[in-house]
């Protein structure tokens, strides 16, 4: 797994690539925690280049969403979710928990 972070005025864009499994999910959690630690709670997660997410990765997404939405201080939204990953999230009942955008522009513009 790799990621790049871009900081915008009203949100942070974290673009992730590769596999998010039990091995790499803790690295993603750390990257997200670093953003939260800066008091920034509006996050766009660009999943376009993610090849695989297991339940360990989904756990990170939901924990981050819980922290961001606490006290109404922000929100995690998803951009460019690959079809297979969307299907797994749908099975897991995740779709109602995240705003999902087809492209990064609309995701960043949401904040």
């Amino acid at each position: 797994m790799d990621y790049t972070l871009e900081e915008f005025k009203h949100c942070d864009l974290l673009s992730v690539s590769g596999r998010i499994d039990s091995q790499t999910a803790p690295e993603l959690a750390e990257a997200l925690d670093d953003i939260l630690d800066q008091g920034r709670y509006n996050i766009v997660l660009d999943l376009n280049d993610v090849l695989f997410i297991s339940s360990a990765g989904l756990r990170v997404l939901i924990n981050t969403q819980k922290q961001c939405k606490r006290l109404n201080r922000g929100e995690v939204v998803l951009a460019r979710v690959p079809e297979r990953i969307y299907e797994a999230m749908d099975l897991a009942g995740f779709i109602p928990l995240f705003e999902i955008f087809d492209d990064k522009v609309h995701a960043v513009g949401y904040f």
Binding site: D21, S22, S54, R59, K66
Partner: protein
């Protein structure tokens, strides 16, 4: 029905192996001509099963191996995972929480849920020598 392809590899039972295990599964699925969607499902089921073996079956035991066998024939693709850890029958799966609002949502149980959703057959046995055998079968449509 005789297998057209049969391959076995033993991986160290650590999270570092998960990417290699996925590769092994994808290669078998592609050789079998499975669709993208079925291949992803197989990959997800095996990843969840192996993660559980590493996390729970071998928990505090000295980690040994996961032996992964792929068999492909005209009707199905079968993945067998063998470990020497604590036995666990995935029939004893807890119900996952798929509906609660965010604040109350628990993500435990999704791994086994994915395994059952993605595979057509899930069988567990513990052999007399203490080897656990998890058999995952995907029918070809």
């Amino acid at each position: 029905m005789s297998d057209k392809i049969k391959k076995t590899v033993t991986f160290p039972a650590t999270y570092e192996s998960l990417a290699a295990i996925s590769k092994f599964v994808i290669a078998a699925a592609e050789a079998a001509g499975l669709s993208d969607k079925a291949t992803y499902g197989l990959q997800l089921a095996v990843d969840e099963a192996c993660s559980n073996i590493i996390e729970y079956a071998y928990e505090d035991l000295e980690a040994q191996g996961i032996t992964c066998t792929c068999r492909v024939n005209d009707r199905s693709i079968t993945i067998t995972l063998r470990d020497e850890g604590r036995p666990f029958n995935p029939k004893d799966a807890p119900e996952p929480d798929l509906c609660s609002p965010l604040e109350e949502r628990q993500v435990g149980g999704l791994g086994l849920y994915f395994i059952h959703q993605m595979m057509d057959e899930v069988r567990f046995s513990c052999e007399s020598d203490g080897t656990n055998v998890l058999t995952l079968v995907k029918h070809r449509s």
